[in-house]
Symmetry: D2
Subunit: 414 residues, 4 copies
Amino acid sequence: MAEPLHSEIVEADGHLIDSRLLTSVFDKVIERGARFDVLDFSIGRTNEEFSHLRLRVTAQTEDGLRDVLEALIPLGCHPRRHDDARVALAGDGFVPEDFYSTTNHHTQIRQGGRWLDVAEQRMDAVIVVAEGRAVCRKLRDIRAGEAVVCGVAGIRVVPEFQERDRLGFAFMTNDVSTERRVDVSVARVVRMMREVKADGGRIVMVAGPVVVHSGGGPHLARLVRQGWVDGLLAGNALAVHDAEAAFFGTSLGVDLEAGVAVEEGHKHHMRAINRIRRVGGLREAVAQGVLSRGLMHDVITHDVPFVLAGSIRDDGPLPDTLMDLVVAQERYAEVLRDARLVVMLSSMLHSIGVGNMLPAWVRVVCVDINPAVVTKLSDRGSSQTAGVVTDVGLFLDHLSAQIGEERRDRASNK
Amino acid sequence: MAEPLHSEIVEADGHLIDSRLLTSVFDKVIERGARFDVLDFSIGRTNEEFSHLRLRVTAQTEDGLRDVLEALIPLGCHPRRHDDARVALAGDGFVPEDFYSTTNHHTQIRQGGRWLDVAEQRMDAVIVVAEGRAVCRKLRDIRAGEAVVCGVAGIRVVPEFQERDRLGFAFMTNDVSTERRVDVSVARVVRMMREVKADGGRIVMVAGPVVVHSGGGPHLARLVRQGWVDGLLAGNALAVHDAEAAFFGTSLGVDLEAGVAVEEGHKHHMRAINRIRRVGGLREAVAQGVLSRGLMHDVITHDVPFVLAGSIRDDGPLPDTLMDLVVAQERYAEVLRDARLVVMLSSMLHSIGVGNMLPAWVRVVCVDINPAVVTKLSDRGSSQTAGVVTDVGLFLDHLSAQIGEERRDRASNK
Amino acid sequence: MAEPLHSEIVEADGHLIDSRLLTSVFDKVIERGARFDVLDFSIGRTNEEFSHLRLRVTAQTEDGLRDVLEALIPLGCHPRRHDDARVALAGDGFVPEDFYSTTNHHTQIRQGGRWLDVAEQRMDAVIVVAEGRAVCRKLRDIRAGEAVVCGVAGIRVVPEFQERDRLGFAFMTNDVSTERRVDVSVARVVRMMREVKADGGRIVMVAGPVVVHSGGGPHLARLVRQGWVDGLLAGNALAVHDAEAAFFGTSLGVDLEAGVAVEEGHKHHMRAINRIRRVGGLREAVAQGVLSRGLMHDVITHDVPFVLAGSIRDDGPLPDTLMDLVVAQERYAEVLRDARLVVMLSSMLHSIGVGNMLPAWVRVVCVDINPAVVTKLSDRGSSQTAGVVTDVGLFLDHLSAQIGEERRDRASNK
Amino acid sequence: MAEPLHSEIVEADGHLIDSRLLTSVFDKVIERGARFDVLDFSIGRTNEEFSHLRLRVTAQTEDGLRDVLEALIPLGCHPRRHDDARVALAGDGFVPEDFYSTTNHHTQIRQGGRWLDVAEQRMDAVIVVAEGRAVCRKLRDIRAGEAVVCGVAGIRVVPEFQERDRLGFAFMTNDVSTERRVDVSVARVVRMMREVKADGGRIVMVAGPVVVHSGGGPHLARLVRQGWVDGLLAGNALAVHDAEAAFFGTSLGVDLEAGVAVEEGHKHHMRAINRIRRVGGLREAVAQGVLSRGLMHDVITHDVPFVLAGSIRDDGPLPDTLMDLVVAQERYAEVLRDARLVVMLSSMLHSIGVGNMLPAWVRVVCVDINPAVVTKLSDRGSSQTAGVVTDVGLFLDHLSAQIGEERRDRASNK
């Protein structure tokens, strides 16, 4: 091939080995049919020190080179030449073809020779620049005439580094196995929760209806009462099953104590929905004493923010369930703002939704009895996701038991 | 126990043995701590003949008896004494506590001594009576002052009977196995599709994005072009992945031909969304030649009705995606009206939503590589669900190949 | 079809409705292209009463009729005419083509006008008749010249009836769900174990290595020490992992307390095997104080019979592991003799092996985190299998906690 | 901690970044509570060049240091100081406590100042040194007085390097997804099979009975007839189901063409076993014309070596099935000798057994519909395992179709 070659020099700093970044950098180059030459690599001498990489990337075409560079940005590689980021004007709800689509990692863009931190970091967004600020914005929220970042120049991503041996978190990461002792994982989650709370951080729970079916409701409610839960994100079904359990002692018609199907499941289910609808919603039901116990009762009486997002399969729904998903996504995002730890409990749909909204530095614990769900959530880009494959009811039982001991004192002083 | 006992005589007719109805009747009575006495049972002498049951049910309390009777209604048992159904007035979006919650089976109610067929049968609805008609209505669509059926009197359900050996459908029912020869199942689905079409019936497909990832897109598109698909129900992701494949040849960044990840998956994904948003939607993209091939292209050019329902995890979304789920559920229901066969392709969320909307006599085929999904969908009450556990891309390939042969002629005359 | 028709009258008695036998009878006839006429059916009037069936079966050919009759035998149908069972002479390790292959249900054969109970009932065996006794025998144990039952005449099977509401066992049967409260299932297993022990019955555990990985080892050991376990059936890996845990505190190199991989997993694994091999076996290791704690230690010191069956994947193996599977199967069968309850703990391979050996009236509880395993084991013919889909480590923890309380007294008097 | 520190310098060469070896080296050190200092690291400048590492490892104790060094050996790190490997005398079937337990990677040991290649490399073995040769030996085959390698000195492992973009194999590695287009994976397997055959290499298939149930039997048989299969490793069930299909057209009683259960599954199953037992085995059955078609028939008539290993769950078994697992393991190992590619088809048990026997440089493709099985097999240490999650029957259909075209010519000249 006599074509002229195109090349560019990029640089990266950080825990490039530990976080497998260096391997990924090389992979991306080769996958795209390009080649690399390592111009300089100085390795961190110890576990704490950073490494530094300088790399020349060479491709057959200008476009090919651009593709590789774009692929290397999320790995922390930035061109050695510092140009400003290019901006171009958006339409109403759409942007130029070559817009920069964000990752969930810390990002900076260069404007007027200065690096600006991008605010409200999340994945699959565009970066809007205005009045010396850069901020992530969803496509549908873009307005005509806004300046959005395009191309690859002047963009710098600082990936999270997988920290070895901090809170033992690394152990659980990428380690989706049904063959582990759950109490070990529980102990780690307890440690994380304590650390986050000691720092004044917020913990958000994402919960599916299996939490109720599997008997985890009372345990999660206890965590709520003790102040461990700063937000609850769920769907219609969680609240309906919880109300059904509070009203009738059943969940989809199965008696939670006796385990016997006492009645047509759906009858209780629909009656619970009807009873809540009659008074106008969950908050009203609690206020009027109609709903006097259960998870949602405790969430409401302890002023924990909650959002119920609708789905195509919802019955009813409860008046509290947001059937307009644009609103639901916004309300989810508000509850997640500044969260430091998110615990996902057997709810693939809502967990994926939440995962899309989170910056990469928020820690995520995902608990599900199905290893495929844990793998799928762990694969969605955060290096901070720890998976626990187990029965969610028993997990919450043990979590609440392990954490409960010492929290009791604090909670009683509240 | 010296309490006075409460009893009632109920009757049922039909294929009570084959459809396991008789077993279920006895189970329901015993589960609720009641007892039964068979006053009369005449069995169908042959596979074609109906059986007839007359049963006395006895419970300790009036409430207990009511509970049992309510549980027996969906099994086809109705009180021997024919009273009119009781109606009571609804509030706005809610109904009296003892409302009758529907199943997905054929239902009749008695008014003025006459049995009325209930229209728009679906599960988890209430029955509204007005001007001599009875119709299923969702709770949220109930308006204050409407008359809704309450209690258990004057309600008659005619369950579907599992027909032995019709189309070999029975074989696949309740038989969720990864250890079957898929071509046998494909042949049956082909036979069902032909029969339904020969009868002038409608076939609706429910499809998840895995259809595109797994290479099934072109095969499903071929079925669309040949006139086998009368409606497509999906979510945002199916159309986005299909557009991505049409524009870039990738699905979530994986090259569909070479199988190599050619680029940051999400970049293509977001670019596809942006390109469709720019022109205003999928139909506009087709009209303007922006989207010139793929499944959605063929769906649109062949005037197949489609609905994309939003979900909490959606990126974008496409302008065509309905983020208001109340609207989405109504549009889904419209496409499903009069469907005779629904084929669910690797989409648990939308499939459950669709399952909730269907009357029990619509045939359902559910294809997924995960046996748990097939089991879950098959458990949702329809005796007409056949499950196939296999790779959905290969399933569509073989389905399209087997059915394609003879359809070609018909299609070419169209 | 002008062919002469062939027909026969069969009869059956029992809980034909509850146990779904009647449905199955009709299914089998129709599946084979034959037809049935119900000559008489008197239904059990209450939950306790038996039903009685008299049925004429008609097929196109003599062979077809024979096939149907053969298929109806395991469902409890026997010809109205009572002929003696036909016997024919076997070869060495093989039998005549038309031999009767047994099920796991109570069976009787007619000889000299009298009905003989078949001893050592198990599935997939042949029935040998000698000196007025009938006994199940595996093909490989058949010797030339023995008389084995052939054909379908003179054979009567008494299927187990699914008893409603006994020990709540029925609830768990055929109900494989990850969405249940495990403590309810645990309570039922506790009740079963107590009932069996109160009756003087034997309880056998089948355990896979996941029991150790998942932290269940100490809980199962506690049950052993308390006298709940009358036999342990496992493979090489369970004992190796248990020894590894006892020697090094790890299981496949993962520290069971800290959950951290402390070392090359396989190194500890192989060292544990070597240490046991050095002294000659597990019993010697216990006797010499080399193995001083753990599950196998407690099994040996409490004289609980155990058998370790080899498999193609075994490392080592331990001297105690039977690599000759003919011997292993025989030793398994000995431990299972007269067992009343078998609890299968996360070991598909050994559980299927055990399932093949058991008569249908032995109760089986199967615990696994993978619903497919529970379904597969439940499908293998016993109406007495209850499945629990959960984390086996947590299951044993809760089982040992719930059962432990009151047993303590008895155990201390031992 | 005032304890004296213990340290050692190790070195490694190779594709340390690509193969994630460097990351693993650092992980192992930190996990064990030790520390590292990188004394020198020169990176491969291009995708082809090797990297070189010199590292000082420091631990608190002598034992701790030894542990770390032992853990680093399989990653290719060897002490800078070159001592001879230490040998010690074994007992009968056991070895000294500090024996070196092998991995499946190329290994060398130093004796008399020279590096010897270790023969018959496999994991979990010990290294016996005799007459200037070093060879892997299983514990049970060790005899008293043999010299085995102990400790960590003088041992050098050369890990396989994950080659980027060779045969596109890397793509499939560590990529267990149900959401891929299978034909892409099939095309890669076809390419690998052709390459191996073009090189004169051997291909071994490991197959479970699902191959027959799922309709893959005829496709695998076609590969056998065309000369693609140089060995077949399986269990009793594969051959029994194949014989059942050949005799009766059913597999576990399900008609493979019609998909209808034509008869008591187990009856045909046991009859097939009996018929083979009668003539003395599969080879005799083929020779006498009793078994005249099917997979095993083609395997035997094309002189493909096969081994059927017994398991605790086997019925029968066939006379050909090896119930002595020591013999079965040896025969498996013989068939695997010099294999270049092993294709594992839906048989977890036999696949794990085979995986244990293989050196790391043999390529492995694992096909199963259950992603957990593919993950489990991929995790067992070979960097050369590619997983395909799909229906095995359809996989074999497409594999045989894709590869068949051009092979036809070659095969016809054979």
